[in-house]
Symmetry: C2
Subunit: 256 residues, 2 copies
DNA sequence: GTTATACTTCGTACAGTGTACGCAGTTGAC
DNA sequence: GTCAACTGCGTACACTGTACGAAGTATAAC
């Protein structure tokens, strides 16, 4: 139900948090927790029970402290989400694939996909602006290196990386939502379609929508196996890279 | 802050609501409101103040009734969102563009984009499953007709339409978020980047991320004009359709 | 050694959210 | 005239993020 915003406060404060450069004070009691402890606990909750379950109270309970204690470590929930994001981006292997740009971009897409599948809550965080932590920076640098030196302008490099990332984000979100809706509703897409068809036909006469009826049925009967989700991802990625290819060829051989 | 789920209750009830086929009872007082009145008011709130502002209480206030009154017309907020979605999909012109599939798919992308830009709250509704109302059905039928008869299988037709829709959804969401974050933060992307660079450089040494520094600056200095958002959309759509083209050519001339 | 200061934890409170429940009043069927 | 079906809606509940301030503690300054 909830898409949460990441933080947007003071740049210096946020960066200190992301890079763990908080100047530790001399006076006063030593803090009982660390930023990393809180982030670890938050990730555990988000990974296992979803982002909606990760309330500040729940998280505090998990850590055995009062809810307001967390606000000594983070200005607000948004900043915590920022650090969580940067942390999981650190899980990217960031493999340096030898060969052409296409293989590299393919790797970028695949690694991001795996990450999203492992932490589906990431898809519910609306990043107003990327949290410029160490892992986000390294990720962006690595992604840009996939399209460096093939004749694209700086802006085109950014657009291309954003395009691939946008595709992966959308594709995985669709897949994850599809998976979750099956769990919540207890119905597969096929069952859901078959449950609606008779009512729909009675209310409106499905013959008015011949293509929808035909394709809907075909999709419903084929798309119950999980491999099909993978197939849709591959299909879209191939289309996308084919499209990028057209641009790259155009840029690398402008005299042709 | 909130991404809301659309409804997922009894199919018959939901379809009755979407198609306005509620059997009106004979006994009891005549309802003071209609489904359409509520939906119109809800759309007004969502369009002007965003989805977060569209609470049931706010909506009820707007209509001059008690909050719980709305639950006489809709089982829950999810179902209301479903009807809202189906209603705005009715604004699609669904123009029948003459010529090739590419022009038709292009039109599909453009009309959907316009709609999302006009009703940005749509992007925050996580549709677990499409609300099968009259306008959603007509939209799907129209979209499928763009890729009918060019040699694709039924499943490929659905995948292709979903791919284009997914792209538009993601692209517009990015653009809308970018627009909104400027309003909320009072900073353009360039200003934001320039506010972070000195801190980032001090904390970590930006020279470790040469590509990011170069490209980030280039993007920041160019992407402040609104036309650039349009440009990014065009760029991605061209890539995508190029990619689809590769598949269509392959299917239409398999003997080559 | 005392005091002042900076820092900690966290209970309480506030303004929200969606909606379950049940009561009071109204209408038409019998 | 009676009853069942229906409508509007007040109240309540379990949540949410977090502002405020009180109480306690460790250290710097004197």
């Amino acid at each position: 139900m909830n898409q949460e915003y990441s933080g947007s406060g003071d740049p210096a404060k946020s960066l200190e948090l992301l890079w763990r450069r908080r100047p530790q004070p001399t006076r006063g009691p030593k803090p009982a927790l660390t930023v990393d402890q809180i982030v670890t606990a938050a990730l555990k909750v988000a990974d296992t029970d979803g982002l909606a379950a990760m309330s500040m109270r729940r998280l505090a309970d998990e850590l055995g402290v009062g809810a307001m204690t967390l606000y000594r470590y983070f200005p607000g929930k948004g900043e915590l989400l920022d650090v969580m994001l940067d942390t999981v981006y650190g899980e990217l292997p960031r493999r340096d694939v030898p060969g052409e740009w296409r293989a590299k971009l393919d790797e970028v897409a695949r690694e991001n996909r795996e990450l999203y599948l492992r932490h589906p809550w990431m898809l519910q965080v609306a990043i107003s602006r990327p949290p410029l932590g160490p892992n986000v920076m390294a990720k962006y640098e690595w992604e840009l290196s996939a399209v460096e030196g093939i004749g694209l302008s700086d802006v085109e490099m950014d657009s291309t990386v954003a395009l691939v990332n946008g595709y992966v984000h959308g594709a995985v979100r669709t897949a994850v939502e599809a998976r979750q809706v099956i769990l919540r509703s207890g119905m597969t897409d096929k069952e859901w379609w078959l449950a609606h068809v008779p009512h729909l036909d009675q209310i409106s006469d499905l013959a008015k929508f011949p293509l929808s009826a035909r394709v809907g049925t075909a999709v419903g009967s084929e798309f119950d196996a999980p491999y099909d989700v993978d197939h849709a991802f591959e299909y879209g990625l191939e289309r996308l890279l084919d499209g990028v290819s057209a641009l790259v060829v155009n840029r690398s051989a402008p005299e042709g």
